[in-house]
Amino acid sequence: MASTYTATSMDTVFAANKSMISVFNEVGSTDVVRVYRIWAFNNQVTAVTGVLTNLEIRRLTASTGGTTITPVKHDTTNATLSTVTCATNSTVTSTDLFRRVVWSTDEPAANATITLDEFQVLMPIATLWSQGYGDTSVSPITLRAGDGVAVINTGASSGQADFFIEFTVGAS
């Protein structure tokens, strides 16, 4: 079982072409990072005039700046990461597209007719990426030195959301 971490970015404000959350394995790192699951939750509790946008999961070849995120260790005996950087709003160079989902930035209501944003509070729908289907012949997104992955918002500039990335770090 590999050392596992969860990176979290709460109340992440939407902006055009923004990296909402990213994990980057720095150049020169001897670690191998594997991204298993990614979630986005519509966790807004105040009214906002939302719009539709796209969230893209993309591979990165560079990620600098932004606000650094310290990932939570699933086991406190796991090593503290020194060459793996998690961030929100970092400046990224993105390449391959793994997935694109449509997202509503409107706020969910506690007791109203279900629209898109009310579905975005439910776990299966909030799961944007999952390797958890038990097929060991399928690789997770694997980040060698100089690789990263990010959830990038391509459109909206209203509203906010919570983002989570679960990943493992190992020597091979």
């Binding site: 298993y36 939570v72 706020e107 209501a109 009310e118």
Partner: protein, 176 residues
């Protein structure tokens, strides 16, 4: 196969900053507790005016300034499981020291009551597949569950201000 238990609490009433359900592995326990799954269900059985809540799942790496609450004994899947020792569940526990870098997930939740005639967020909170908040036992042995070494705890805390509504929460855990 490790000894497995379910820690569950029914009809937990919401309250501001309340720790709805917690699992503690006290200092010196000699045990390691692992959380594999967490489930929830809307259990408001009476009409009320609910609000949209945020429920935070946090790992506490030092058990200091802990007090009060109602202890809950987890239920063993096998009657001959090894002893839990001092590993204990609580509802309405108080943790003065939360610590930084502890947040693992935040769940949006409607505290309105579900009924049989309409469909809104709270009705969807009755369906188990929608409400598995944490699921590490997805047959991928590469990923760790939430591991609680001695002197660590895991808690689900209400973040938003509200005293309305009820929820059932359960955690599936192993103790070694």
């Amino acid at each position: 196969m490790a000894g497995t238990w379910t820690l569950s609490c029914r009809a937990i009433n919401f309250n501001t900053s309340k720790h709805l359900l917690s699992l503690e592995n006290p200092s010196g326990s000699g045990k390691i507790a692992k959380i594999y799954k967490i489930y929830a269900q809307n259990s408001a059985g009476i009409a009320l005016t609910g609000t949209q809540l945020q429920l935070e799942m946090r790992k506490l790496v030092t058990l200091t300034s802990v007090s009060a609450g109602i202890a809950i004994t987890p239920q063993a899947y096998k009657s001959d499981n090894v002893a839990l020792g001092t590993v204990t569940g609580y509802t309405n526990r108080t943790y003065t020291t939360i610590g930084t870098n502890s947040l693992m997930r935040r769940i949006p939740w409607s505290s309105d009551e579900a009924n049989q005639t309409t469909a809104s967020t709270d009705e969807l909170e009755l369906f188990l597949p929608y409400n598995v908040w944490w699921d590490s036992s997805y047959t991928d042995a590469n990923c760790q569950p939430i591991v609680l070494n001695a002197n660590e705890a895991f808690t689900i805390q209400q973040l938003t201000t509200s005293t309305v509504g009820f929820i059932d929460i359960a955690m599936e855990i192993t103790v070694e």
